[in-house]
């Protein structure tokens, strides 16, 4: 198989090709390393690679296969992850100047589970500074570039993960989501970005931002690939039943707040996605969200207080080593009284129940826009009047950030392209632990559409 053919395989297909001996792990790893070093660096998606360790592991994987031993599900498959997943002894910079020389003492459980499933770990990918931006903004390491158009943001904070999967450098990548950081790059790069129910995937050994909101999850091209990764990192089965279809499934479409900023091209793609889901047997109902200003305020308070708590000593000792845009997101957390923080946590269960009752009602899932506006340029999110920049950034998280306070599972699902050629996506939101229904729905949708098969020119597959 030629390099471009290997790069074009999705995770499930590559794992099968390696297991069947059609592609060796060394071949797949060499292709991934070459592409990460070439295309990945051009798009500023890569922080560091460990070629020698990866190729040694690949050779060992090929030897094991040749021995006839039983193989784990991701045997010999090369992956790379957001640079905040720790591996004991390795650097883990968190996209920051402050932690550029930090070496982890532990390996995250999510990474250890991928290791046990046979996956190879090629290195670490770019992210927003301290995982603090929905665009991927990183002043010290440079902004990652959207593979569909490098003048546009790739979405963040798991920016490098989104870029690497969309540009076919790796087939899957772990990222984290505190206010949309898996769903933003998912939506803006044309991928499934799956934020699991809070607590489902262990977050030990992952650089924290806000412990009450942080979730680890996969970015993949297909829902089935997301199910493969989630099955490993959550240690549960999300593959059984994924092909069952969605006949009889009830999908709620909340209006009100979730329609407020909707661009006409996004609205049209959303309408078309609903039509497709209906044609697959789903029934659609309209619902209305509760007071989202309150839920967004709660998310802002919890995130900033928890971030300010862990960043306080650096805010005192090294304030100059933060980008101003990042400091501006952390510092509000210094001002809230402790009573507000405890109230915010204490209200969480009842407000989540209220959101589910209002937005999902008697349906199985809710369908929202992922991003209400077209993917912005890097310039629109970094230059000019700070008020305009803040407005665009706020618009990007309009439909995502509240979900983290609620702790519900959410996934971006690619559903088209805008007139500038940038991806559009919708977002599925479920009740706690309803990832299997979400993945089955996204899988059925992808069976009827081809958005996820389209590759950006930057992937250089032809």
């Amino acid at each position: 198989m030629q390099a471009a053919e290997i790069a074009a395989l999705d995770l499930g297909a590559l794992a099968k090709a390696i297991a069947d001996g059609e592609v060796t792990s060394v071949q797949a790893t060499t292709v991934a390393l070459d592409r990460l070093a070439g295309i990945g660096h051009k798009l500023n998606a890569v922080v560091r690679l460990d070629d020698a360790r990866a190729l040694n592991a690949a050779a060992a994987a090929d030897k094991r296969r040749a021995s006839g031993a039983a193989l784990p599900p991701l045997h010999g498959v090369p992956l790379a992850h957001k640079d905040l997943f720790y591996r004991a002894g390795d650097l883990s910079g968190g996209g920051s100047k402050i932690r550029e020389n930090f070496r982890a003492e532990v390996t995250s459980t999510a990474i250890a589970r991928l290791d046990a499933a046979g996956a190879l770990d090629l290195g670490r990918l770019q992210l927003a500074e301290f995982a603090m931006s929905p665009t991927g903004y990183n002043e010290s390491l440079g902004h990652a570039r959207n593979p569909w158009n490098p003048a546009h943001v790739p979405g963040g904070s798991s920016s490098g993960s989104g870029v690497a999967v969309a540009a076919r450098l790796v087939t899957a990548s772990l990222g984290t989501d505190t206010g949309g950081s898996l769903r933003h790059p998912g939506a803006m790069c044309g991928l499934i970005g799956l934020k699991p129910t809070w607590g489902l995937v262990p977050t030990d050994g992952v650089m924290p931002l806000s412990a009450s909101l942080d979730c680890s999850g996969p970015l993949t091209r297909t829902a089935k690939d997301a199910a493969i990764i989630l099955s490993v990192i959550a240690a549960r089965d999300y593959l059984t039943g994924i092909d069952a279809g969605i006949a009889g499934l009830r999908i709620a479409v909340p209006g009100g707040y979730y329609r407020e900023l909707l661009h006409t091209e996004i609205a049209a793609a959303l309408h078309e996605a609903i039509r497709t889901l209906t044609s697959l047997g789903a029934t659609i109902s309209e619902t209305a969200p509760p007071d989202m200003a309150l839920i967004n305020a709660l998310m802002q308070l919890v995130m900033s207080v928890e971030a300010a708590t862990i960043h306080r000593s650096w805010l005192i000792e090294r304030p100059q080593d933060y980008a101003d845009q990042v400091r501006a997101r952390i510092e509000p957390g210094l001002y809230y009284p402790a009573t507000r923080y405890v109230e915010a946590l204490s209200l969480r269960a009842q407000l989540t129940e209220a959101w589910v009752a209002s937005c999902i009602g008697d349906a199985d899932l809710a369908l929202l826009p992922a991003i209400s506006i077209p993917v912005p340029t890097i310039a629109a999110t970094t230059e000019g009047d700070p008020a305009d920049v803040a407005r665009v950034i706020g618009q990007l998280t309009h439909c995502t950030r509240g979900i983290n306070y609620l702790g519900l599972p959410g996934a971006s699902v690619p559903s088209g392209f805008d007139s500038a050629g940038l991806p559009i996506a919708f977002q599925l939101i479920g009740r706690p632990y309803s990832e299997a229904i979400m993945l089955r729905t996204a899988h059925a949708y992808q069976g009827a559409t081809d958005w996820h098969h389209r590759a950006p020119a930057a992937a250089e597959l032809h």
Binding site: W198, A297, L301, P319, L334, R340, L345, S346, T352, E353
Partner: protein
């Protein structure tokens, strides 16, 4: 909410003088967020509540 009060919270309670110099830009957001939650908590948070209730609620929802 008084900007001076917030500045004092940053500078004295949090010992973050550099952040305190930038209080002005956070003041409107903090005032709005604080007020919304304070009002809602006074209205809707039961006395028998706990910041750990959410984890217990999630655990009950986990049927797998």
């Amino acid at each position: 909410m008084s900007e001076d009060l917030l500045r004092q919270v940053a500078a004295e309670l949090n010992q973050a003088p550099d952040a305190a110099r930038r209080t002005a830009r956070a003041a409107a957001l903090v005032t709005d967020v604080n007020a919304r939650i304070a009002v809602e908590a006074a209205r809707a948070m039961p006395f028998d509540s706990s910041p750990y209730a959410y984890q217990a609620w999630l655990a009950k929802a986990d049927r797998s």
